[in-house]
């Protein structure tokens, strides 16, 4: 089918976002790009069912997400193992100054349950509202909210984010501390 130039431009502009979402879902950039390719082909084939002027990004994300889960269902363990190996490889990479946090964070993300990870990404990084995320994940808004909240709590545990730590120097508590010592 043919599509308008503006729709084509919008489609092109959505690719970076689709890739980022795909990487967050499958934790592997090579597989993520295959997923994006599949999404673009599926989207193109059924563009006649897309209402121009409505949310193209949400429509594309929905296609990508469905494609991801249908691949997981088909491939089963194979996919899970690949993800586990990827997480282990990330974890074993030597730390580089300034990149350690991001690497740890990626590993931590792979340890979240799929439903929590996707909810957190959609709301916290892709910029979707809770309502849009609920539509993409085909669940209730309240479900998305609780998944996001559980994902945050779990991440903070995995990353061992604790009060007074991991936030750099805290001048206030440092002052209090030095005073109480003096």
């Amino acid at each position: 089918m043919t599509i308008s130039d503006s729709l084509r431009d919008d489609l092109l502009a959505s690719i970076p976002n689709l890739r980022a979402f795909a990487v967050s879902l499958c934790g592997n950039s090579e597989r993520a790009d295959d997923l994006v390719q599949e999404t673009l082909m599926k989207a193109w084939a059924k563009f006649d069912s897309f209402e121009e002027g409505t949310n193209l990004r949400a429509w594309l994300f929905t296609i990508l997400r469905n494609e991801f889960y249908s691949q997981v269902r088909k491939k089963g363990r194979e996919v899970e193992d690949a993800d586990g190996a990827y997480a282990a490889r990330l974890a074993s990479q030597p730390s580089q100054d300034g990149h350690m946090n991001l690497r740890d964070f990626r590993v931590a993300l792979t340890q979240l349950p799929d439903d929590q990870r996707e909810a957190l990404i959609l709301v916290g990084a892709s910029g979707f509202s809770y309502e849009e995320a609920a539509e993409i994940c085909e669940c209730a808004v309240g479900t998305i909210k609780s998944r996001v909240s559980r994902a945050r709590a779990r991440l903070s545990e995995i990353l061992a984010l604790e009060e007074g730590e991991s936030f750099g120097a805290d001048p206030v508590s440092a002052t209090v501390l030095s005073r109480s010592v003096a």
């Binding site: 089918m1 043919t2 599509i3 084509r8 489609l11 092109l12 690719i15 970076p16 976002n17 890739r19 980022a20 990487v23 967050s24 950039s29 790009d33 994006v36 390719q37 673009l40 082909m41 193109w44 586990g84 997480a87 282990a88 990330l90 974890a91 946090n101 991001l102 740890d104 964070f105 990626r106 590993v107 931590a108 993300l109 792979t110 340890q111 799929d114 957190l120 990404i121 916290g124 990084a125 892709s126 609780s146 909240s149 559980r150 945050r152 709590a153 779990r154 991440l155 903070s156 545990e157 995995i158 990353l159 061992a160 984010l161 604790e162 009060e163 007074g164 730590e165 991991s166 936030f167």
Partner: protein, 75 residues
């Protein structure tokens, strides 16, 4: 999904902290320290923006051209 916790990476990361109080517990809504929420949000966007800032691989541009070409033939 809990089997992820058994993997080495999880254990390694989970023991990263010292003896301070845990700021958040799984399953407790809105209980997280705002600074922890803020830190998670920051890292999440850093991770995501890292991928977004990569140039679009040629394979996608070629794919779109190909799709357009095949559409053109039919019409």
């Amino acid at each position: 999904m809990t089997d992820h916790e058994e993997k080495g990476a999880g254990r390694q990361l989970g023991t990263g902290g010292g003896g301070g109080r845990r700021a958040g517990k799984a399953g407790e809504d809105g209980d997280l320290d705002p600074r922890v929420q803020c830190e998670i949000g920051r890292q999440l966007r850093a991770f995501y923006d890292d991928v977004i800032s990569e140039p679009v691989p040629d394979r996608f541009l070629e794919l779109l051209q190909q799709l357009e070409k095949s559409a053109g033939k039919k019409c």
